[in-house]
């Protein structure tokens, strides 16, 4: 029956539509994937080929010289270690706080929750700004500490709302009432019943938090002075973008470096840059397809208002 209704012959207009859609989708896939693919190819090509710009589809003059160079870069690996530390700690703090708060907000039998929610939501639309926050951190004596990098950004009201929406829709009221009739306390109910059935939301919040920490550089730039505390992204910024300045000067025809010395310095730098991008991004992009469904779930839960 069903097959009969959907198998009505496609009109020419519809066929043209499908064709255009297919072509566009292909084009989009290529446009999005090609730069990523190119970085990978360039990172294993010989520096001379990379510098000539004569590289488009496959590795030429296969060479791992860029990666060899990266292996010896202690600063980069220190940044890696720092980022791992900040990511693990920050995610632990963030997820615990978010899940606890999200659950409490999901309980309709908690007096005052709307008022408190209002207090939280207001901060999504209005903030003190950069300098006032900086002064607070200064007053707390947290400048140039690892603590502030872990703390700042651990709590996001958006994530709390996502968690709350999840709990509202997936913890049946009857379950809670039955547990209370049996004399179960709130804390026992939460830790022994709610947490075990809430793995999806814990996964979503964990991933959101972890990615945010892994990719963040701004707080570190503002609050850290010691380079040995720098996270990966700040180290990357130095490697990837410090060179830009010199290029500009050369392009300007002035400055301290002339085009020739620049070219010499350039030979290795370009390949190293590609390698560094791969090293920094691959952990995230490798895990991503496996956890994609959780991320998508997060966006969808977040989309359900209220």
């Amino acid at each position: 029956m069903k097959a009969g209704s959907t198998k009505i012959k496609e009109t020419t207009q519809d066929r043209i539509f499908s064709m255009i859609t297919l072509i566009l989708i292909m084009a989009i896939i290529i446009i999005v994937a090609y730069p990523l693919y190119f970085v990978l190819v360039a990172s294993v090509s010989s520096p001379a080929v990379v510098n000539s710009g004569d590289l488009l589809l496959y590795p030429k003059g296969f060479s791992l010289i860029g990666y060899n160079n990266i292996l010896g870069n202690t600063k980069l690996w220190a940044g890696y270690a720092n980022t791992l530390f900040y990511t693990v700690m920050g995610t632990l703090v963030g997820v615990s706080i978010t899940i606890l708060a999200g659950y409490a907000f999901s309980r309709s039998d908690l007096p005052g929750r709307n008022l408190l929610m209002g207090i939280f939501v207001f901060t999504m639309y209005f903030s003190g700004g950069l300098v006032p926050l900086y002064l607070v951190v200064k007053q707390l004596n947290l400048i140039n500490t690892r603590t502030i990098i872990i703390l700042l950004g651990s709590v996001s009201v958006y994530n709390i709302i996502i968690a709350r929406s999840f709990f509202v829709s997936s913890i049946p009221k009857e379950l809670q009432e039955a547990a209370f009739v049996d004399g179960c306390t709130n804390q026992r109910f939460f830790f022994e019943i709610v947490v075990p059935i809430s793995k999806p939301i814990i996964a979503v919040i964990t991933l959101y938090c972890a990615i945010a920490y892994w990719n963040s550089f701004f707080n570190a730039m503002i609050y850290l002075n010691d380079t040995d505390k720098y996270p990966l992204q700040l180290v990357l910024r130095e490697i990837l973008l410090s060179f830009q300045m010199m290029q500009q000067q050369a392009a300007n025809g002035g400055g301290v470096v002339d085009a020739e010395t620049l070219a010499e310095m350039n030979t290795l730098v370009e390949v190293v840059k590609y390698g560094v991008i791969v090293v920094a991004t691959v952990p995230v992009l490798i895990i991503y397809p496996f956890i994609q469904k959780y991320f998508v779930k997060g966006v969808m839960i977040g989309a359900v208002k209220g």
Partner: protein, 322 residues
């Protein structure tokens, strides 16, 4: 019973109802007190890192002196605001901020919707999955890496974009060094990175459209374009409206980190926006009060736009944030 007695009666019952409600609330609070402890860490965070800084906003109206502290510094009224409005930077900053963010909004808002329609009408499940996996991926690339990629791809000598341009007989373009190119590079790289991720929410909304509507439309001879126009589009209109409101509320907040990373002396004239200027004035030049005043100005405009757009949307379409 007289009228007065009735009134008296209802008054008593209203009072009693209120009392009962309060008592019920008290019982709930006592029974669930532990949940307030669940909220405590988040509340502390919000108070310390969101509300405490709001107290510091007052230095926008003061001359902040570090040894006097926030409270002790002398009031100067709107001095810093007038200084900002009168400064030669003001109109440039406002122009750059608005043109970059409006350009970004206009160019990047519709594309995820189109992508969602295309994915929704792709029959082949594998192709559908592949498209989604690939287009979501750039979302996870950090801003630093993205700008790093831009700087090498767009390099006038070694970047592959310029290799392609030269191949077709054009002259290489120094994209990041020419100020006219800044906003285009900023906006279109943003579209490259964000379109897939932004489409998820529309794909979700589209999957909620009842298939019966489509079947009925097909039987009536509606083409795919007609079905998009009359079934799918109305179905996701509320989602579009909400996202548009949220985006409009961010109009003054250009992607601060990305702009900062993309800036250089050559494009600064068109790449300096209010938020980067706030950062430079405040934390680089240590003009705390001046920077706070600019930040506050920015924040208030944003807040007003959000409320205005929300009210407008509510009137027009009945969809709103609150």
């Amino acid at each position: 019973m007289t009228k007065g007695e009735v009134a008296f009666d209802t008054q008593i019952s209203a009072k009693e109802a209120k009392k009962a409600r309060l008592k019920h609330m008290w019982i709930l609070m006592k029974r669930n007190y532990i949940l307030y402890f669940f909220l405590l860490p988040a509340l502390l965070y919000i108070i310390i890192f969101n509300y405490w800084p709001m107290y510091g906003i007052q230095i926008a109206f003061k001359d902040y002196l570090p040894y006097e502290g926030i409270t002790g510094s002398p009031w100067v009224g709107f001095k810093h605001f007038t200084k900002f409005f009168d400064s030669i930077m003001f109109w440039d900053l406002l122009k750059n901020t608005l043109s970059i963010s409006l350009y970004s909004l206009v160019a990047s808002f519709p594309i995820p919707i189109l992508l969602a329609f295309m994915i929704n009408y792709t029959k082949n499940e594998k192709l559908k999955k592949l498209t989604q996996t690939i287009t979501y991926a750039p979302h996870f690339i950090s801003t630093v890496v993205l700008v790093g990629m831009l700087s090498i791809f767009l390099s006038p000598r070694t970047g592959f974009i310029n290799t392609v341009i030269e191949f077709f007989g054009g002259d290489p373009i120094f994209f990041l060094g020419q100020k006219e190119w800044f906003r285009h590079v900023y906006v279109w790289s943003g579209i490259w990175q964000g379109t897939g991720w932004a489409s998820i929410i529309y794909i979700a909304a589209l999957s909620g459209v009842s298939p019966e509507l489509h079947e009925a439309a097909i039987i009536d001879g509606a083409s795919k374009l007609q079905r998009i126009r009359h079934i799918d589009f109305p179905a996701i209109l509320p989602t579009i409206t909400i996202l548009l409101i949220l985006n409009m509320g961010q109009v003054m907040n250009v992607g601060f980190e990305k702009v900062l990373l993309m800036q250089n002396d050559l494009n600064l004239e068109m790449s300096e926006v209010i938020s980067t200027y706030t950062y430079k004035m405040g934390l680089v030049n240590a003009q705390y009060s001046y920077s706070t005043a600019i930040g506050l100005f920015n924040n208030i405009i944003n807040f007003c736009i959000l409320i205005g757009v929300n009210r407008f949307a509510k009137k027009i379409s009945g969809t709103s944030l609150w």
